[in-house]
Symmetry: C2
Subunit: 241 residues, 2 copies
DNA sequence: GGCGATTTGGGAAAACTTTCACACGGGCGT
DNA sequence: ACGCCCGTGTGAAAGTTTTCCCAAATCGCC
């Protein structure tokens, strides 16, 4: 077992790891580490809110080599992760829906600083079409297919009302989009070759609400309320996937 | 083993299940099922985009009883899930940050229809404070502690710039908030008794970008491009956690 | 009133994810 | 040059989540 380690690329990266890589990259490019030459897995893991063994395992899927006894080179690790995530050059995305949320997303600076360019902002409302908002001209959703083709867009963000999301999604897929980030509170059906991520804002709150309920119940059954608030040894944290 | 099934409550519900319960509830209260008397696990699972065995297992944690040979009673299942999630009565949440995203969230109808009430919209910008946006008066962030106490707020949404998110978070926790939904692209540190969920919009795109890369690589190595787009047997789907 | 079609509930296996623990490699001080 | 210390990389164990599969329960029909 020595001639089979030259794979490096094409190796399977677990889904859970991919999600964390984005966080690592954000932390690495943040002010705290940008200046430094190297980081240890301990430091980076703590800044990212994960266990250091997990961070090392995650990075090991990249084939990225740290230096034993030293750590990882900040800039080359960042480059490595960027490459794996495919964000070395800005990718064009279509933002569909210029309502509340769509406009907020159009104005979100984080997209452009982290590898994406909003190539088009589309809407169905005649009152919006043609208007210039946040530097984007709102285009007619009727032009969706043309825009996708012209800009070579592979990723679409859906921020439309729930009722039309599936129809828009179908059109986007038909036009050639192969990844969709959906903010509409509906479960979209897409063909197997299309990747889909749902962000459901109310659902996030409901999950927190569940835990609130739990905490309330625990307090009641635990009887005395003392010492329940006592267990925060300095600065523990807990991020939930 | 027969006298130990009276637990029903206080049973552990896996984290992954909780996240899906919110989806099931949304689907159940949607137009497709609201009218109907019962649903089978197959139907509901398909509408929610999950495997039916998984749905049944999820529901089994609720102690919720379906009827064999029939399915689940739509309205009582909805009530059951609402109760478990703690959304039977609207909960008050504080929305911190009246920028781009904060304002969009303030205008998001889904919160109020799904169990939450924005009890306060706070910001630090003197130009915003006092203004009335989307029916909310923007309050001074200096009043955070007072608002949390007065309204009995347990859940806060952070939609501030990244630089101030940790400081705001600390203050909210100190004031008594025990659940935080964070949209700022930083990893927040919170004491162990506080629940935290992160929503990182750019990270979502980066995850999709990763898969785009993969698909592109697969196409190249697979050589011929035919039959790659052929495998969507009718309407398969795939939601990714 | 019994029989067959249907669909839940849950045990057991499989798959996936995280944590543990430690051997190994590399730099640094002397 | 040598050895010590530090921190990576990774097997193996532990934990979590999903899937498989079938016995048991219920309804509707004859």
């Amino acid at each position: 077992m020595s001639a089979e380690r030259q794979v490096l690329e094409g190796q399977r990266v677990p889904e859970a790891t991919v999600a964390r890589l984005a966080t690592y990259l954000r932390v690495l490019t943040g002010a705290d580490f940008h200046e430094r030459g190297t980081v240890s897995s301990e430091e980076l893991a703590s800044a990212a809110g994960v266990n250091s063994a997990l961070l090392r395992k995650d990075l090991s899927y990249l084939g990225s080599y740290g230096i034993r006894g030293v750590g990882y080179d900040v800039s080359s690790l960042g480059a490595q992760i960027s490459r794996i995530l495919g964000v070395t050059v800005n990718q064009s995305v279509a933002l569909i829906g210029a309502g509340n949320l769509g406009l907020a997303l159009a104005g979100y600076a984080g997209f452009s600083t982290r590898g994406f360019r909003i190539a088009a902002l589309l809407d169905a409302d005649p009152a919006m079409i043609g208007r210039d908002v946040r530097g984007f001209e709102v285009r007619d959703i009727a032009d969706l297919e043309a825009v996708v083709a012209a800009e070579g867009i592979a990723i679409a963000i859906i921020a439309t009302p729930a009722e039309v999301a599936q129809a828009i999604c179908d059109r986007a897929v038909e036009a050639g989009v192969t990844s969709i980030l959906n903010f509409a509170p509906v479960v979209l059906a897409v063909p197997a070759h299309v990747d889909l991520r749902q962000v459901d804002l109310a659902a996030e709150l409901q999950i927190l609400s569940f835990h609130e309920n739990r905490k309330a119940a625990a307090l009641l059954s635990a009887g005395n309320s003392a010492d329940v608030l006592e267990d925060d040894t300095s600065a523990r944290w807990r991020a939930e996937a």
